[in-house]
Symmetry: C2
Subunit: 345 residues, 2 copies
């Protein structure tokens, strides 16, 4: 870890220079504040001569004035901020790419995407914290928010709330991302391949249970009433934890494992191989996310491909919802849990 | 890709309900706006009776009123927002973990971390866009901002600007993260292992050149004046691109490759192995980032470990800088480029 030493506090902190305002620009340019606002916001409704425009720009530059987004949104009564609460866990590559594309697409539509961490707050309490930023739209990437949270956001000026969740929430547009379906697809695949004692990895890292819980439940439901059993396997994302699990493998007597996702699958596959377990002969392995990683492993890794919406499609949905705040909430099932069968199962 | 169909525009968009203000709360509770503000901001300086407090909270709940962060920061003259511009490329696992920790640590210090994408803007133009959000501090994760950008941010009320960059920028605190040093360490290691024709992977994905350029330069500088040569290798993060590069391998006559990072190294190692190139006998491979991935591969992957500051140390630096805006900018070299020698080199 890099050590950053403490700095002693300065004995006499200098008074901070006042932040220049549009009034200062108006004074220096010899125009009204309204003219400053028209020029700097590029308002086309008002005709302003080129020399005046130039004077305002020069004064703004000289003073180092930049408009205040918050003041502007207070005047306008709404912002162009699309709020995206951050995940409670570090983002994986699939989600990072999705956020990157979504952000780019919304920027091109002249929105500002703000990712906002509200650690410790959950559900409708988190929604109240988000509302303080007065976003024009909110994309909620995890379950937890309820109808009251949606109502708080809407009463605070949000024209659209979009949830990525297994069930729709009243008042919000819903992208129905069904993690139970992911577990179900994996379990059905392993069962169809003749496997009967199926482990399901549940990561020990905090915050993951919102994804891993429904995946485990989905696997259980898929095999209910069959001759197969499901065994829950706790695993931390460390080589030590994987080696400890692999050491118990013979006792567990599993002939297959759904390893939560491709990264945990790679970790577990390595530990199993090192412990002498043959994949897929002794134990079939399937991950999820369809990362490039899985195609590079040997044996190549079977996986459940999860289709997130494309960034630009989702941006278009948000924009449409902002323009038509009175429209009925849309509900789109993400039909995205497809097994990609490769060598490991 | 999931298809999201277009919704027809509603024929009569209903008028949006007005957003409740603190004045509405004051009216309903029968108190002054100042009292509403004291109660909802938990001001301890003013004594307010318990029944009045309760009345204000009930009125706020009934109206669905939440305070407006922007209005509050306008009144206070500053915000608690720490701005973190998003990277121009999707974040890798190392950086995702760093951002996650930094965000958590600043939340515990009562700051709000906002990640903000300004696609298309660069350098000081980007700084002007950031200034519009009136952050109290800015952490700039990529090179590009200059002294003017720092000055714009400070004049707009930012008390601290921290750059993560190879060289300090006037007026800003500097964490000196030297990507040239990463390339230099990798090249020196390969040279010390007896390798003389050394490929350096430069990703073709746009936006990566701010990292890959200095890494290539560092490798070139490390080997200047020696009997070794450096060959620049363009590679996209696809199996097709890697296979095409591997097919040219015999012609290139390389005995070593610095593969930019561990993910590109894994991609290239797989393609080289499939093409019959033995690692490390024919070609030594080294990556960077020290991901778990590299320890799971066989042969295990040599890497350059890059030490980012810990999230909590960096949060403490930001907090200290905000409290002492007049202090001299600090400069901390991140001594973080250590070769981890494993089987692949």
């Amino acid at each position: 870890m890099v050590q950053i030493p403490n700095t002693p506090a300065p004995t006499k902190p200098p008074a901070p220079r006042p932040v220049p305002t549009s009034a200062d620009v108006a004074r220096l340019a010899g125009v009204s504040r309204a003219t400053v606002s028209y020029v700097l916001n590029n308002t086309s409704a008002v005709r302003i001569s080129e020399p005046t425009r130039r004077r305002v720009h020069e004064a703004a530059r000289e003073l180092g004035y930049v408009p205040h987004a918050a003041a502007r949104s207070l005047r306008a009564g709404h912002s162009r901020v699309v709020l995206m609460p951050t995940l409670p866990v570090p983002a994986g590559p699939l989600y990072s790419q999705f956020v990157h594309d979504f952000q780019g697409a919304l920027s091109r539509l002249d929105y500002t995407v703000v990712q906002y961490g509200t650690s410790g707050l959950r559900g409708d309490d988190a929604a109240r914290a988000w509302a303080e930023l007065r976003p024009v739209a909110v994309l909620v990437p995890t379950p937890g928010i309820g109808p009251e949270g949606v109502a708080v956001l809407k009463r605070s000026g949000a024209r659209a709330v979009v949830t990525l969740s297994p069930v729709p929430v009243e008042g919000a547009h819903a992208l129905l991302l069904d993690h139970a379906r992911v577990g179900q697809s994996a379990a059905e695949h392993l069962h169809a391949r003749g496997r009967r004692r199926i482990g399901v990895v549940v990561p020990e890292e905090p915050g993951m249970e919102i994804f891993s819980g429904p995946r485990l439940t989905g696997a259980r439901e898929a095999l209910r009433g069959t001759d197969a059993t499901v065994v829950e396997l706790r695993l931390a994302y460390t080589q030590k934890s994987a080696a400890a699990l692999a050491a118990r493998w013979a006792d567990l007597g599993l002939d297959a494992v759904f390893a939560y996702n491709d990264e945990y699958a790679m970790l577990l596959m390595r530990a199993l191989t090192d412990a002498g377990v043959r994949i897929p002969e002794d134990t079939a392995v399937i991950g999820a996310d369809d990362l490039m990683l899985g195609r590079l492993l040997r044996p190549t890794l079977s996986t459940v491909r999860i289709a997130l919406p494309s960034g630009s499609e989702l941006a278009a949905l948000v924009d449409r919802a902002v323009r038509n705040p009175g429209a009925e909430p849309e509900s789109h099932p993400l039909s995205g849990a497809t097994v990609v069968h490769r060598e490991s199962s």
